[in-house]
Amino acid sequence: MSEECLCHNDKYVRDALIPQIGIIQKITQETPDVRSFQVIKPGGGKLIDQMPGQCAMICAPGIGEAMFSITSSPTVKEYNEFSIKECGELTTYLHGLHEGDQILVRGPYGNHFPVEDKFKGKNLLFIAGGIGLAPLRSVINYCLAHREDYGTINILYGSRSKKDLVKLEEIQNVWEKAPNTNVYLTIDREDPEWNGHVGFVPTYLKEVGFDTDLTAIICGPPIMIKFCLQGLTELGFSKEQVYTTLELRMKCGIGKCGRCNIGTKYVCKDGPVFRCDQIDELPQEY
């Protein structure tokens, strides 16, 4: 074609649906069914610059592609980390990969937690269940890295059992030791190796009984989110104070494939982070 060819013009950037190559530099077995993957560019360095709460599409060619939260904080400049729960075709395949293997990645997608405005100067309460820690971990580490910008940080995290607590080492060695930070851990059932709290997250939440001057952020299975919201309401929280993330099936991640809408909102683009009063305005279809 001639030089006039439009396609070689700057107007045509690489399509958003075309991924980059990522190298898995480190794999950590977090729990029996969750592994974390640190991913870098082929030449080294961070693949995606993101904000806390944003996600990326990970693809294993020939197997499939799915959305995952970037669990490392934006303040980590060396790599992006994903914590992935084995639950289907792609995730099982990813669990079979080794350090040094390649995957395809595109993103970042979605909005992010309002760490730069609404959260600033606030006392925060993070509530997570199971793999729901993945999106919150990036916010927590971001806030800890900018410690002076936020008030007290409370973290309430629970899982089925001790071995199902994701990132337990980091929680005990970093978060519990951070200034002005309180960590509350719980597991669902008694466990001889556990001498901490036992009970479901929503119940523990009410037992601790947090002050209503907190901004709360909840992430976890839908049923846990529901009961935590009820618990917070009983404690006197208003919905404007509570943030959560929604999870729907996604294919494009950019608001075009038509898959992830709830009413007029696309969870991939307008979410995944929503304030609970905003969720109330959506049609009941999530």
Binding site: L6, D15, P42, C260, I262, G263, Y286
Partner: protein, 346 residues
């Protein structure tokens, strides 16, 4: 204004297709659909509605996005080439042209731009044919389309055995110039065309759905319409076949899948349908469990969500394809009438 006799079209098509890809409606096995013209094919400009809309030309039913090859050094990603040469879409109808502007909202006017679609849109010359015999199922006027005045690079009318063509954009002028030898001058045909337009418009006026009222639909109606009790009975007979979404010129939902060619992995996208039960299926849940919810999604998207997000633009152009093709006679007209206002006498 230019004109060309019907019998000379094959010659024009031969010239055009020698210079650029030419898409026309073509009849095969009694069904007319859009296809790449070559001299073994006869363009069918008489059939009013192709079964599938020309969205295929811009947003193909199946389209490879990139290839992934794997060797000892790892993956190599090769994005598919974008359309780089002009091509012609000859005989597209006014409602289908309007449908492209609806799809533009999704693929062009909202970041990030879909480059595959953009390249095709920018390289296309649209030659649009007026609808001389609109059908009973047409209701394009409801959405502001004038079947008598195609809004495209070149507008075209068929009167007696001649096609009259008028350029409406620079691209259209250039296209007519490029193939000037094939056309005769038709200055002074304005009256003839105006008369034909009157006739078209009077047919349109008499069509059964032409005065369908959209009152009660559009922006701001999410809660009211979502909770309307009529969805249940309207959707009861739906087979979830997806026909309505595949024939629709504005339905843009897609899936992205893998195909192992034996030499590499093709990552391709293909049309999908919100009418299918696995469209939103996830491990732990499915946010649309019933056909009622899926049926409601399709029409809420077209008549409420999309207009709310796009300054009142509806995601329907009144082409009537879903009215013709739904095996259960469940269609958007029924929905608009049943839940809208002021349609009691329509």
């Amino acid at each position: 204004m230019k004109k060309i006799a019907k019998e000379n079209l094959p010659k024009l098509f031969a010239e055009v297709s020698a210079a650029m890809d030419l898409f026309t409606p073509v009849k095969m096995a009694d069904v007319t659909n859009w296809g790449l013209w070559d001299d073994s094919r006869v363009a069918d400009l008489d059939t009013l509605k192709t079964v599938k809309s020309p969205k295929d030309v811009f947003f193909p039913q199946c389209q490879t996005l990139y290839m992934v090859h794997h060797d000892d050094n790892g993956f190599e990603i090769s994005p598919m080439k974008l359309t780089e040469k002009p091509f012609c879409v000859f005989g597209i109808r006014p409602c289908d042209v309007k449908a492209l502007t609806v799809m533009d909202q999704v693929f062009l006017n909202q970041e990030p731009v879909d480059t595959f679609y953009k390249a095709r849109r920018e390289h296309a010359v649209l030659v649009s044919l007026a609808c001389h015999k609109p059908a009973q199922t047409c209701f394009c006027k409801v959405f502001g389309t004038d079947a008598a005045a195609p809004d495209a690079d070149v507008a075209m009318w068929k009167i007696d055995e001649f096609f009259y063509l008028e350029a409406q954009t620079e691209k259209g002028t250039a296209w007519l110039d490029q193939f000037a030898d094939a056309f005769e001058d038709a200055e002074g045909a304005g009256d003839k065309i105006a008369k034909e337009q009157d006739s078209i418009r009077s047919i349109v006026e008499s069509l059964p759905y032409t005065h369908l009222s959209l009152e009660g639909w559009g922006p701001g109606k999410v809660e009211e319409k979502f909770n309307d009790p009529h969805w249940k009975e309207l959707s009861d007979a739906c087979l979830a076949c997806g026909t309505c979404t595949f024939v629709c010129p504005t339905c843009q939902c897609y899936d992205i899948k893998d195909f192992n060619t034996g030499h590499g992995i093709q990552r391709y996208r293909c049309w999908d349908s919100c009418m299918y039960s696995d469209f939103t299926l996830m491990a732990a849940a499915n946010n649309r469990l019933t056909q009622m919810q899926r049926y409601r999604q399709r029409f809420m998207h077209k008549l409420v969500y999309f207009p709310e997000n796009n300054n009142g633009l509806y995601m329907c152009v009144g082409c009537g394809r879903c009215v013709d093709k739904c095996p259960q006679a469940l269609n958007i007209v029924k929905v608009i009438k049943t839940m809208g206002k002021e349609n009691a006498d329509v």
